[in-house]
Amino acid sequence: MSVLPNKQEKVTLDTFMRGLWEENPVFVMLLGLCPVLAVTNSTMNAIAMGLATLFVLVASSTLVSLLRKMIPKQVRIATYIIIIATFVTIVDYVIQAISLDLYNALGAFIQLIVANCVILGRAEAYASKQKVGVSVINAIGMGTGFTIALLCLGTVRELLGAGTILGVQIFSSNFEPWVVMILPPGGFFVLGAWLLLFDYLKQRKEQKLLNAEGAVANGS
């Protein structure tokens, strides 16, 4: 994990963008993998889970950041957990109220957002040290990054595994779905494949940079 600044940070575009890519909680920091893999067998679930996490992240960051001066160090973690658990419970009930089907599809994973280390990590490392504005924006960035990662998996898995996206038929009706994609191994494989792809692209970029440098060195 990157060393997070202890000093007060100004709001910049980077505060938000960081969570999307450089410090993407899933693809880069490999945190909170359980919900990522468990609920991404359909795009709908991925979106719901992403939004729920985003909400908990933002709400708890806000509260933690607001209360940061009042929380003694010793009970820091305990307080954060209570705060997070509160918001998770709220989300849990709200989703039940919105749609039972969705609630059943997500199963225990909504409640397991409590255990998601992205959130506790944010609260501990960032929100407890920064002003409300900064930490909210950062939390939105992180949450969005998380949601994007969920979508990356959810769309691929639903598209290959059922031939649909958000339940809408994409391929011809004769398309043979790859059932494995919505089964557990598919989750591992798709995430693994994304990581492989990113690694490959990164390597290519580095190679190009190296080559470019080499060319310069040769030229001079």
């Binding site: 004769n174 398309f175 043979e176 059932v179 494995v180 994609m181 089964l183």
Partner: protein, 352 residues
């Protein structure tokens, strides 16, 4: 270096002799041993089986070349191991398996099962079975659609499902089966019949392969003989199939005695389904089996026990593939607990 330029004496390190058997030779001999099995499969299922074998083998070869190129390694198709993977993969698929799915299986087998880990010798699970397990999970219907052998006109007419368009569902083979079937073909393998209907196929049928099943898993006798050839040439570890058969018999024997109506005889268990092919050619893939002498027996026993458990108590009719994959995953652990006692080890050392 040409001979003339050679220095008078050349420096090498001992030993200066080598046994004249190389990896490439071993692999080539496995291919030879598999050819009769492939031949029988083609005779039984006709042109569909032939094309299936060609497609998987070709995909495997192409995938291997592709990944060698991508990772900058020299092309390793020459060691023939990839051909084995292709042949064995085809032999574990139903004869009418759509070709595009077979190509997917071949690609996954080599790409995910082998190249990802660095190629020959480094894979952690049997590549052919990784390919098959993937398509089994991806296309569970197609892979459990069996068609009869010895159909009239099998040498010039494809099983209709074979030619499904890429990424499209195969057509239903029901009609084709009805119009070609040797009478009474139910589309069920002997294992399924035994499990669900408690009808046990005849031993002779199992031996000669006149039953439904995968392209190559049908004639137990032929597979056994081809495996023996390898064992006699010391290119295959005979202890693994021996351990598998032994464990299978030891588990299924008492079960059969307890309730002959439900549990089949050990002989049936050994001869039916993919057990013979798995034991002789797939469990013996040395790359993914433990090497230690006791470990080899344990590994075989694990496969035998798991096979019977999955077949008799699990949701699936066939367990060999999963048994081998699980045993592959277990083999590093098996190896580490069965390191042999070295010459002269004192008891104090053995403890530590």
């Amino acid at each position: 270096m040409s001979r003339k330029q050679k220095k008078v004496v050349e420096i090498r390190t001992s030993p200066h002799l080598k046994k004249a058997i190389s990896v490439e030779q071993i692999m080539r001999n496995v291919v030879y041993a598999l050819l009769p099995v492939c031949g029988w499969s083609v005779y039984q299922f006709g042109i569909s089986a032939l094309v299936l074998i060609l497609v998987t083998t070709l995909t495997c070869i192409l995938t291997e070349s592709l990944f060698c190129r991508l990772s900058g390694r020299p092309n390793s198709v020459g060691d023939f191991s990839v051909v084995i993977t292709g042949l064995l993969l085809a032999l574990t698929l139903p004869p009418g398996f759509p070709l595009w799915m077979a190509a997917v299986a071949g690609f996954i087998a080599i790409g995910l099962g082998k190249s990802l880990f660095g190629g020959l010798g480094y894979n952690v699970m049997n590549p052919a079975l990784v390919g098959r397990a993937f398509v089994q999970a991806a296309f569970p219907v197609a892979i459990t659609t069996w068609t009869p052998g010895f159909a009239a006109g099998r040498f010039y007419e494809f099983i209709p499902s074979t030619l499904a368009l890429p990424f499209m569902s195969p057509v239903d083979t029901g009609l084709w089966v009805k119009s070609h079937a040797v009478d009474g073909f139910t589309g069920a393998t002997p294992l399924a019949l035994q499990k669900f209907e408690h009808i046990t196929a005849g031993t002779l049928d199992l031996l000669t392969g006149s039953v439904a099943g995968s392209a190559g898993e049908t004639s137990a006798l032929l597979i056994f003989v081809c495996g023996l050839y390898l064992a006699f040439r010391k290119m295959m570890d005979w202890r693994i199939p021996a351990a598998i058969f032994l464990a299978t018999a030891l588990i299924s024997g008492p079960l059969h005695l307890m309730n002959p109506a439900i549990y089949p005889t050990p002989l049936f268990v050994i001869l039916s389904g993919g057990l013979m092919l798995g034991a002789m050619f797939m469990a013996t893939d040395m790359v993914v089996s433990p090497m230690t002498p006791r470990g080899v027996w344990l590994y075989g026993a694990v496969i035998g026990v798991l096979t019977v458990l999955i077949r008799q108590f699990g949701g699936l009719t066939e367990g060999v593939m999963y048994a081998i994959l699980v045993a592959n995953a277990l083999s590093p652990l098996i190896a580490s607990v069965t390191q042999p006692r070295i010459y002269g080890a004192t008891s104090k050392e053995a403890e530590s």
